[in-house]
């Protein structure tokens, strides 16, 4: 009993270390990608090409004062960043990084991932509500609308994959892609999944809850110090989790030749993350009504259509 508890704790720490490192690298590459897109250099002075920047940022955020503004809903305000960060972090339990490199091969892995990663949005809504700031409130409400609507095509785009595999376990989905990656069978499904993941992570062109030019900083306007840092980390963790899941569902997970499986997984996920970062610095932002239109009028019918076609295909062949 005690031994297994220690084992679980060690596992959690390893996952935390991997996720933390991944977030730090993503943060650093975000600035570097942005800077090079904008013909700048980005971080240069902290360590070699600014490689220690993440550490400097973290130390600073940890030791800075945390302000509790007046009139806030104190309890909700204090726990909101954790509610935003923890579920996204926990979703890594069901993600296999290689053969056998998984915390727990749940037989409802996909369902678990979908359920727990969308809990993070509740943290955003809590932050928006409790901040006693109108910008935060609007940001929180936008987030609510976004999560409710984009969850549907998100789920519907995964269903065909589950139908093809016949299992909800992430490991068996990867194993089922031995011959052909699902992106070739489900190109439309991949596209819908990718777009709705962007929306779920609040990334451009769907970064409406924090829309910097409209809502100052949206839901985290009133947060300072490490609590703001947690929101920041939550966003990037969500991006990584979303991209890792896309790799498993559509890009054949760790499968590949020559290189060890873990590297293939890393390579595919990094490529997807890179595209997400690149999109951020090239595209403008949607307006709220257009954002909703895109979901209900385009993505939802398309994903239903995709589902029906897949069902027919399975029936016929």
């Amino acid at each position: 009993m005690l031994l297994s508890l220690i084992f679980i704790i060690i596992q959690a720490l390893i996952v935390f270390a991997i996720v933390g490192a991944a977030v730090a690298v993503t943060l650093y590459s975000e600035i570097k990608v942005a800077s090079h897109v904008q013909s700048k250099l980005g971080y240069m002075r902290t360590g070699w090409h600014g490689s220690l920047q993440g550490i400097a940022d973290m130390i600073k955020l940890l030791l800075k004062e945390e302000i509790l503004p007046g009139k806030i809903d104190k309890l909700i305000f204090l726990i909101a960043p954790y509610v935003a960060f923890l579920p996204v972090f926990l979703s890594f339990i069901a993600i296999p990084l290689g053969p056998g490199l998984i915390v727990k091969d749940l037989n409802i892995g996909i369902l678990y991932f979908l359920a727990i990663s969308s809990v993070g949005a509740i943290g955003i809504i809590m932050a928006g509500w409790s901040s006693y700031n109108k910008y935060s409130l609007i940001g929180g409400l936008r987030s609510t609308a976004q999560v409710i609507s984009y969850e549907i095509p998100h789920l519907l785009s995964i269903l065909p994959v589950i139908m093809l595999t016949g299992s909800l376990s992430t490991v068996s989905i990867v194993n089922a892609q031995e011959k052909v990656w699902y992106i070739f069978l489900q190109p439309l499904g991949f596209l819908i999944y990718f777009i709705s993941t962007l929306a779920e992570c609040n990334r451009t062109p769907f970064d409406l809850p924090e829309a910097e030019s409209e809502l100052v900083s949206g839901y985290h306007t009133e947060y300072s110090g490490m609590r703001f840092g947690l929101f920041f980390m939550a966003e990037y963790t969500h991006v990584i989790a979303g991209c890792a899941m896309a790799t498993i569902l559509f890009l054949g997970g760790w499968r590949g030749v020559f290189l060890p499986p873990f590297f293939w997984f890393l390579l595919k996920t990094s490529f997807l993350v890179f595209i997400v970062l690149l999109l951020r610095w090239t595209l403008p932002r949607f307006r709220m009504d257009q954002h909703m239109y895109l979901n209900w009028y385009i993505l939802l019918p398309l994903s239903l259509f995709n589902l029906i076609i897949t069902g027919l295909g399975i029936l016929l062949f």
């Binding site: 700048k40 980005g42 002075r45 400097a56 004062e65 100052v216 985290h220 947060y223 300072s224």
Partner: protein, 153 residues
Amino acid sequence: MDIELPNNIILTKLEPFFRWALSHSIYMFPFGTACCGMELIAVNAARYDLMRFGVIPRSTPRQADLMTVAGTITEKMAPLVKRLYEQMATPKYVIAIGSCAISGGPYHYDTYSVVKGVDKIIQVDVYIPGCPPRPEAIIHGFMELQEKVRKGK
């Protein structure tokens, strides 16, 4: 010297780390009101690239370490400057960019609505003179601030 020393040791050991971290990761709250605000944008843009020093613009004062007052502050604006400064989390720094923010500059004489220097309202750490100062001067000002952060006040 006495028993309470260990507590102090931890503090003094952490402080250099914090100072190093802060000097390399200054989140800036760009408060540009007038002409100098343009040069502040130019410093952040491609050619001068202030981001090399780890300076990132944040749009809310809560998350900022540094407020750059670039431009003239009028009587109507003064209460807001003070309020924005108070909203920032400690440790906080202020850079006054341009002669308007330092002393009123060209609007010092014969004027009824211009505050003659932002240091009449809030505490300023680094002054960057010029009307407007060149981007090189602004970068120098930021490096002076980094030096100041590292040494402590």
